[in-house]
Amino acid sequence: MGATGKEKPKLYESGRRVDGRGLADLRGIKIESRVLNDADGSAYIEWGKNKILAGVYGPSECIPRHDQSLYRSVIKCRYNMAPFSGMEEHGRSGPSRRSKELSKVIKEAFESVIISENFPKTQIEIFVEVLQSDGGTRCAAVTAAAVALADAGIPMKDLISAVAVCKIDGHMAVDPGKEEDNFGESDMPIAFSPRTGEILLFQMDGLLSREELSEGISLARQASEKIRKIQVEAIAKVYQEPKEERFLVIK
């Protein structure tokens, strides 16, 4: 890889990663729920340098009608990157092939936890806007969207979270940053249902042995438990410190 054309830096040296983390350390994660007024549920996440906003509408009447199901609510998702989100050149607006794929896998992760049979003929829409990207946007998106769905009061079997693992200089590490994403040997985003331990989103590229795969999944599982705590705190905070105004404050 090395999409930026730069030399591959040393990714793991004397127990430290490029940004100084250990192999099982997450970047800093902050979640704020209920930041938008019109959306039924919303959440803003800062994960490393990632800044992502999720908004949820529904259950509402499913339009167009031919998308409707008589048996359940239809889950829709749009993952989108702002044209100013990247460090490199100005992006194009409108869906890319990448953002369409991510929209699909994010939607499918939620299809098994949202109790959609309660709302036949309706739709639940999940909108994710990546305002600033720094590697691992899909995992941060799933994590924020889960909080936004909870904020919207949509019944779910579990509060899901996602995190990626990577292989850097032969070592499995959790939550790759932009450089590790670009120059690492493998990248594997995973979303878990923490209650059952089931895997809801799973993608992988690069080369991994069977042992490395197991090590990666267990690293991700441990990390996702930490993320879940931050999600629960964000939801609780809305009720512990009720705000009069819904406001997105970015620091």
Binding site: L36, D38, K49, F84, S85, M87, L131, Q132, I250, K251
Partner: protein, 256 residues
């Protein structure tokens, strides 16, 4: 939908006739305004602005581009607006709506015609200029997106850093100072129902109003204007609103 707006108009005009507004503001008062500049690190410039419950983010990016054929010695300024579907149940996914295009063009005209940005200084070499992209990202819609967007855009431009150029390309993450700006452009948008005019229409007022007038001003001049809606303004209305814009512009500029 249309009958609801008819009812809204009836209620609004009854309240306005009594010299009041539905949220008990004065005729020429803004709702609460908050401006947060420099909120993103990857973009060369950024800001958020909110007016009442409307929230808008603006990101500024620089690229290298070819100049326009008719202006070979000038840089490119491009403004776009996204009415994000998460901002309102009224917004849908898909290509930009006419409202989004109008919003972007009105904000663009204010910035462009004030000459606040010296586009000639963006010339690099033959067939190579700097392009500046101003992207308006509407996050929450409660009316008067034009003023909210132009405030966010101006604040984002004020926070913008000039990219470092080496061998004809941009070195990302390194900067060569701030983006020089000559003027602080702000817009004031006025709604009108019957003969009554008011500043900063909320979404409820927008639904019921006959028309709106946006005036973009620098500290000395009117630099862009846009009328929207089916209603009409007299010449006196417009000069009166320009006087109010000039006064209110000072308040807005103080927030930048």
């Amino acid at each position: 939908m249309e009958s609801i707006n008819e009812i809204k108009r009836d209620v609004l005009s009854a309240v306005l006739a009594a010299g009041k507004r539905i949220d008990s503001r004065g005729m020429y008062d803004y709702r609460k305004i908050v401006v947060q500049p420099g909120i993103l690190q990857n973009a060369e410039g950024s800001a958020m602005a909110s007016i009442g419950k409307s929230q808008v983010m603006v990101g500024v990016k620089f690229d290298i581009a070819k100049p326009f054929l008719d202006r070979p010695k000038e840089g490119v300024l491009s403004t776009s607006a996204d009415l994000l579907p998460l901002a309102s149940h009224l917004f849908e996914t898909g290509p930009p709506s006419e409202d989004a295009i109008e919003l972007a063009r009105v904000v663009d005209r204010g910035i462009r015609s004030s000459n606040t940005i010296d586009l000639e200084s963006f010339y690099l070499e033959e067939e190579k200029v700097l392009a500046l992209y101003v992207d308006i990202y509407v996050l929450d819609h409660d009316g008067n997106l034009i003023d909210c967007s132009s405030l966010a855009a101006m604040s984002a431009l004020l926070s913008s850093r000039m990219p470092k150029i080496e061998n004809g390309s941009i070195v990302r993450g390194e900067y060569s100072g701030k983006l020089p700006l000559k003027e602080h452009v702000v817009t004031c948008t006025f709604g009108k129902i019957g003969e009554r005019m008011f500043l900063d229409p909320s979404l409820d007022e927008e639904k019921g109003m006959d028309c709106r007038l946006t005036l973009a001003t620098t500290s000395t001049h009117l630099c862009a204007a846009q009328k929207g809606g089916w209603g009409t303004y007299s010449e006196r209305d417009i000069t009166e609103l320009l006087d109010i814009s000039t006064e209110k512009g000072k308040e807005l500029r103080a927030m930048l």
